[in-house]
């Protein structure tokens, strides 16, 4: 396996995708602004709060001009796009700081949570999938498959709440939420690690069924292939056949879909971060939505779109690397 990595072709593919991302992002931001413009929600009244009830019309108009919401949709959108390119995403009213700062502070925690959960889902899913595929229709296969379908139907926030009840309240083994203990004012590794366990497990388990079902299917199909039969005929150990031959070819179709799980990961994070009060970007999205903080909400929607596009690119690159027949033309 000393095939040279076609870096040039991969870079060209990434460049093409980046070009394609520009109109997509423009369209998404415009859509976001159009929805906001159509909404009955008045940002001036929200900004002024109870003071808005007694404020004079002049003050309200001045506020409207200051917030820039007196302009029509198109200039407002264009102004937002151009200032976003210079790094100015506006100010978040619910977090009381610039949107860029909110993202910078919270993106790392969300990435940590999502990456841990993803690792849990991939490792557990692969292990269980291979075990289940070894004996199709066996008790292990039937139990795990039924459990997977049930888990897939279970909402992540519900799983999170039950996990809190069991592990934090019943057993008292793990903290129920947050990043650190409430009494602590410094962020230490130990604290974060213990607080990470439950949310990462719940998010991972909510992604698990999908990985499991795919690996099980891929390995079971691969076990019927001639290559595997040949490996068995040559007397290779069951372990080598299963992991070296069946899993390798069975994982291939899954690889292309790994990056495309980013939307589901974001969806899960929105719920899990809220349940566990994890100080990540997804929890901030929900807070922004609840208090209609448009600048934050718009920026985070765009950020999520970027993440999805990056995930798609990643999975296509991986697939092209794993299977040279596919190439990097997309």
């Amino acid at each position: 396996m000393s095939r040279r990595v076609p870096l040039g072709a991969m870079a060209r593919m990434a460049g093409r995708r980046a070009l394609f991302a520009v109109p997509v992002l423009l369209l998404v931001t415009f859509g976001v602004f159009a929805v906001a413009a159509a909404s009955p929600f008045d940002p001036v009244k929200a900004y002024a709060g109870t003071a808005g009830l007694t404020a004079t019309q002049d003050n309200l108009d001045q506020l409207r001009a200051n917030l820039g919401v007196d302009q029509p949709l198109l200039p407002r959108w264009w102004h937002w796009v151009t200032s976003a390119l210079t790094g100015d995403l506006g100010d978040s009213s619910v977090m009381r700081q610039p949107v860029a700062d909110v993202i910078a502070e919270r993106l790392g925690w969300s990435t940590l949570l999502a990456a841990t959960a993803f690792a849990v889902a991939v490792l557990l899913g692969t292990a269980l999938g291979v075990l289940a595929a070894r004996r199709p229709g066996g008790w292990l296969d039937r139990t795990t498959t039924s459990a997977a379908y049930t888990l897939e139907a279970a909402p992540a926030f519900w799983l999170g709440l039950l996990a809190i009840w069991f592990f934090a309240l019943k057993l008292g083994a793990l903290p129920a939420g947050g990043l650190t203990d409430t009494a602590s004012d410094t962020v230490t590794f130990d604290q974060v690690a213990t607080h990470l366990v439950l949310p990462a497990l719940v998010l991972g388990v909510s992604q698990l069924p999908w990985f499991f079902l795919y690996v099980r299917q891929g390995v079971a199909d691969a076990l019927e292939e001639d290559a595997v039969r040949g490996a068995r005929a040559r007397g290779l150990a069951e372990r080598t056949v299963l992991l070296g031959h069946a899993l390798r070819s069975g994982m291939l179709p899954m690889l292309t879909l790994v990056g495309s799980r980013v939307p589901e990961l974001i969806t899960g994070a929105l719920l899990v971060e809220t349940v566990f009060s994890w100080p990540g970007i997804a929890a901030a999205t929900v807070q922004a939505a609840v208090s209609v903080d448009f600048p934050l909400l718009a920026a985070l929607t765009v950020l999520a779109t970027v993440a999805v596009l990056l995930g798609n690119l990643l999975s296509d690159l991986l697939y092209g690397l794993a299977d040279p027949r596919v190439g990097f033309d997309g």
Binding site: L27, W165, T285, V286, V292
Partner: protein
């Protein structure tokens, strides 16, 4: 969640048709799904008008009682019967799910069929738009829409419908494209049928089973979205029982150690979802036994 039946028919080659036992467990599964789905529909249709019990009846003396004979699911933090609340919640969630799935299917079928029937630039532009919208995570877009148009049932329905027609549009488009090259379409065209007539009389009826299947599978997914939005405090108002608001209001009791107000609404979501997925899987095998269709909902 919700690509529940993604792999259900896929195992056909390796896992199925091994004699009678396997077949009978499959039959049992379909029958069980049918019974549960029917029971669900009956419960939400019959219980509210027939059973003259007030789901909002508050009895503080009976608050947070664990499950017992009088209250099989226990009572919530103001003494309301949870079984009754769950049935009412399921009724609301199911209604939201049905309407949203119906609207999404109509939009998706129309867009997909139009894109395929016109072809060329229309098709390219429309499908690029569909790709663009698919790049925004569903729940996030839904949250955004609901946040801007709160509160009420309609914003929830609209937000779920507007985020879910994309997959149906893709399915319908690819079905129409594959049908367009069939001889019966050529026959209709050479018989002088217009583009509209071909689409309406020959293509659409042929894709309806696929679109219907997608719609059925979308119902539990839409219910899931409704409960997620309501749980986040962005969906229905908290006094209105839906599966999501029930879990949301149960959060306080859960932290005090009372598990039943959280557990049962979740089960009310999972069990019908599995039943519908089981039925849809069986239906798919019937209408499309050989091909593995993409139903990533």
């Amino acid at each position: 969640m919700a690509d529940l039946t993604l792999t259900k028919d896929a195992p056909s080659r390796t896992w199925r048709s091994h004699g009678r036992t396997r077949r009978s467990t499959r039959t049992v599964r379909v029958a069980a799904s049918a019974v549960i789905a029917a029971a669900t529909v009956l419960a939400v249709l019959i219980v509210p008008p027939v059973v003259q019990l007030d789901e909002q009846a508050i009895d503080l003396a009976l608050k947070l009682r664990p499950p017992s004979l009088a209250h099989p699911f226990g009572t919530d933090d103001v003494g309301r019967d949870l079984l009754l609340r769950c049935v009412y919640g399921l009724r609301v969630s199911l209604l939201v799910g049905l309407v949203a799935a119906l609207v999404a299917t109509v939009i998706g079928t129309a867009v997909g069929a139009a894109a395929a029937a016109f072809g060329g630039w229309t098709d390219r532009i429309v499908m690029r738009l569909v790709d663009t919208f698919s790049s925004v995570p569903h729940l996030l877009l839904g949250i955004f829409i609901v946040a801007m148009f709160r509160p009420g049932v309609w914003p929830v329905i609209v937000s779920v419908a507007l985020t879910h027609w994309l997959s149906t549009a893709r399915i319908v488009r690819s079905e129409v494209l594959s049908l367009r090259s069939r001889p019966f379409v050529d026959a209709a065209v050479s018989g002088g049928a217009s583009r509209w007539r071909v689409t309406a009389r020959h293509l659409l009826p042929a894709v309806l089973p696929q679109a219907g299947l997608a719609a059925v599978l979308m119902v539990p997914h839409a219910m899931w979205h409704e409960s997620a939005l309501s749980f986040l405090g962005l969906g229905l108002p908290t006094h209105q029982a839906s599966l999501g608001t029930l879990v949301q209001t149960a959060r306080g009791s859960l932290l005090a150690g009372d598990w039943w107000p959280t557990l049962f609404p979740g089960l009310f979501l999972i069990v019908p979802t599995l039943a519908i997925a089981g039925l849809a899987g069986a239906w798919r095998e019937r209408i499309n036994p050989r091909r593995r269709s993409e139903l990533m909902l």
